[in-house]
Amino acid sequence: MLAATLLCITRRNPVHAVIYLVTGFFALALMFYLLGAPLVAAWEVIVYAGAIMVLFLFIIMMLGLAPQEVPEGPGWQRWGPLVLLSSSLMICTLLLIFQDPMASKEIGDYYLAPQALGEALFGRYALAVEVVSFQLLFATIGAYILGRPLPKGEDS
């Protein structure tokens, strides 16, 4: 778990960030598996690391972003307050988490078979599945509309 943490921390640095992010997703998928969610772990690898990250890489390479990734090094005046803010947020969150007595209770052994997950997904949550499929359709239409060629004279 700590190794996965380290992987996730180191991944944000260059434009190789997407590759590091794929590594982080693999580690996260392993944690999902350890928490008793094998189907979610498999979908994490397939959907996130497989599809979404390839989409990111495709866009980055299509637009040729790789060479001009590091414009000017962000000075400490820029990232200093942000790091201070996020670390203080982190400390407060950790204090809140570990103040709660529930935090020290252990997660019991749990393994959810994919069959039970599928039954819950298409039984009780069938309406939500339908809504999400509608949303995917709308997203496809929206991406198509955004991807049309620009009208004349709109370039600047």
Partner: protein, 100 residues
């Protein structure tokens, strides 16, 4: 097995990293990647809670969250391509004008 607080703390660390990525980076692609990291932290909390209370619902919601994320990424990347064609850059500070 691990305590519940450790999973929550890990997810909080992941979320804070994603938030830092969103706030720190200027490129729109990196902002989107930060959003992805934060969504993953949320799904980690869902899976951990699902294992904690021995319920199916958290994992079902993670599946739905993945589908929603896929839709969001499709629209966002189409918008990235659109903005690239408009201004030839992806630095978020450049896009500062609106037009009715």
């Amino acid at each position: 097995m691990i305590p519940f607080g450790h999973a929550l703390a890990f997810a909080a660390a992941l979320f804070v990293l994603g938030l830092t990525c969103v706030l720190l980076r200027r490129q729109i692609i990196m902002i989107l990647i930060g959003v992805e990291i934060m969504l993953n932290a949320a799904s980690l909390v869902f899976v951990a809670a699902s294992a904690y209370w021995q319920q199916v619902d958290g994992q079902v919601f993670v599946i739905l969250l993945m589908a929603i994320t896929a839709a969001e990424v499709a629209v966002a990347l189409a918008m990235v391509v659109y903005l690239w064609r408009r201004k030839r850059t992806l630095v978020a500070d450049v896009f500062n004008g609106m037009r009715g």
